[in-house]
Symmetry: C2
Subunit: 302 residues, 2 copies
């Protein structure tokens, strides 16, 4: 069986997780990492065995590009890879922008005969799949999704958004449960010398990622002891005939990477049937995400 | 929008649940119930507003037949409906027979330009979807499914199997959790006059539904007070990066009916694309099971 050739775009926590996840799946192989500056190679010993390039075309044939980039850069970068006929998987996470962007990127993928699984990871992504299943099993019910539990968990999208704000040296943005279906945010910020704390707090609280939820900004000397990769989620659906609950807890970027790497297979399955386009997680059959050479292998344990 | 025409085949607890579920979904309508003897109509006031026939052809155009029949009758009956070009949904539940039967029924459906969602309901069915999602999110983990909890729940397939045994007047078969991933069975049996309890107990314990699990058979004067429609399930996956858990509890036949009725849409979506065949739940995109006239409506809350 020919292995699927995968490139990782970006080298943050999710990119690192993707490298580990690819190594755990014998049907995939890592063609290389795309990142500027490529001098990074000298800095990170975990890339010693990996090609690091500035342009994906230097890697030869790549089937799927895993975009482990800040969410806001994702839509334009997907188009760059479509232009090269390369499939993409990303973890874009601004829920309300998904339907419109999906439509636009779908036209783009079809024109370039590429396939994208868009806005995947665990939420949106597998959690969207769980919410769909809950609705299939109980269509008159009510679903709530709550993140972070009592101790809070790292929101990657929010953390990246805060780090991009002027005056911020380092940060971690936590999501905490705030009653069924509601969240609140706590942001630990290490400032650059001379930065204005009030201006930074205001910039965070008015950012689209934060402005709809209670957001507490705490300034600390060093981020280190507040840092965490843990997150957790809780989806509940109560209905007339049945009640359902799904919980997960674990390492947020590693979990995101697992889902993204499973999506590589769904890209190739769709491409092999000529079903070009940009799809969200729930638009492709679950079986296409699973490992296994034959249908019977994939159905094992059905 | 033209409504999807649905017939219910059989009139047990699941068939009744399907009637209620169809009424809750404005994109579907009930063409009628197929059952012999049709004199049933006089016996069941809940069928007063419903056509009851002995042969589905008496109902005019039917898009999808919901087979609410004993599991063991299902495979042959699917073929009968394929022969008429009618799509089917069923809740066949013998897990180990699914891959081979699916293959056979898939050839049959394609030849007759029909679509079937085979072996659906909650387990196999939506639970299979949850197990697939858990694997997508954590491919190096270990999954266990446990049914019935401490108080036990009604297994419909097992109950039907016991009721078919000679000497049994009425019965209810409960599934109880027996440690992570293991089950035990408790069967309450009301005997026909003159029946031999030892022979009945032996017939139950050697039936394919029971022979692989500890099965206790208890004889009672009247089933009534031991009867229940409740069931519950618990799927856990522990992995290297993430732990997941999904639980459900509720009315077993109503839950099965909900899932079966959601599968009607997936049949029609596949048929409209010319994707004839017999599919398990995880082989069709989740979005095809959901209500909503447009993709954006279906993606709502993604």
């Amino acid at each position: 069986m020919q292995k699927i050739s995968v490139a990782i775009i970006g080298w943050g926590n999710v990119g690192r997780g993707c490298k580990r996840a690819i190594a755990e799946n014998p049907d995939l192989y890592l063609a290389g990492v795309v990142r500027r500056p490529i001098s990074l190679k000298q800095q990170d010993p975990s890339l010693a065995d990996t090609k690091v390039v500035a342009d994906i075309r230097e890697l030869g044939k790549v089937d799927v590009a895993l975009l482990s980039l800040p969410s806001r850069e994702v839509p334009e970068r997907i188009k760059d890879y479509h232009a090269l006929g390369i499939c993409t998987v990303d973890s874009f996470d601004e829920h309300e922008r998904i339907p419109a962007l999906k439509k636009e990127l779908d036209i783009n993928a079809k024109a370039k005969r590429a396939v994208s699984i868009f806005a995947t990871g665990w939420d949106p992504g597998t959690d969207s799949g769980v919410r769909a299943i809950m609705k299939i099993a109980s269509f008159t019910g009510h679903t709530t999704t709550t993140f972070g539990g009592e101790k809070g968990g790292r929101s990657m999208g929010h953390t990246v958004a805060v780090k991009a704000i002027e005056g911020v040296k380092d940060a971690v943005a936590l999501t905490l449960a705030n009653g069924r279906g509601k969240q609140k945010r706590r942001v630990y910020v290490e400032l650059l010398p001379g930065a204005n704390p009030e201006a930074v707090a205001k910039a965070i609280q008015s950012d689209a990622y934060f402005r709809n939820e209670p957001t507490e900004v705490l300034f600390v000397k060093k981020i280190d002891k507040y840092n965490t990769l843990h997150h957790e989620g809780d989806i509940e659906r109560t209905g007339m005939q049945v009640n359902q609950r799904y919980t997960l807890e674990g390492n947020n970027p590693e979990l995101t990477a697992n889902v993204m790497v499973s999506c590589v297979r769904a890209c190739i399955a769709a491409r092999s049937r000529g079903e070009y386009g940009t799809y969200t997680f729930i638009e492709r059959p679950l079986i296409d995400y699973l490992a296994g050479a034959t249908l019977d292998e994939k159905l094992e344990g059905y």
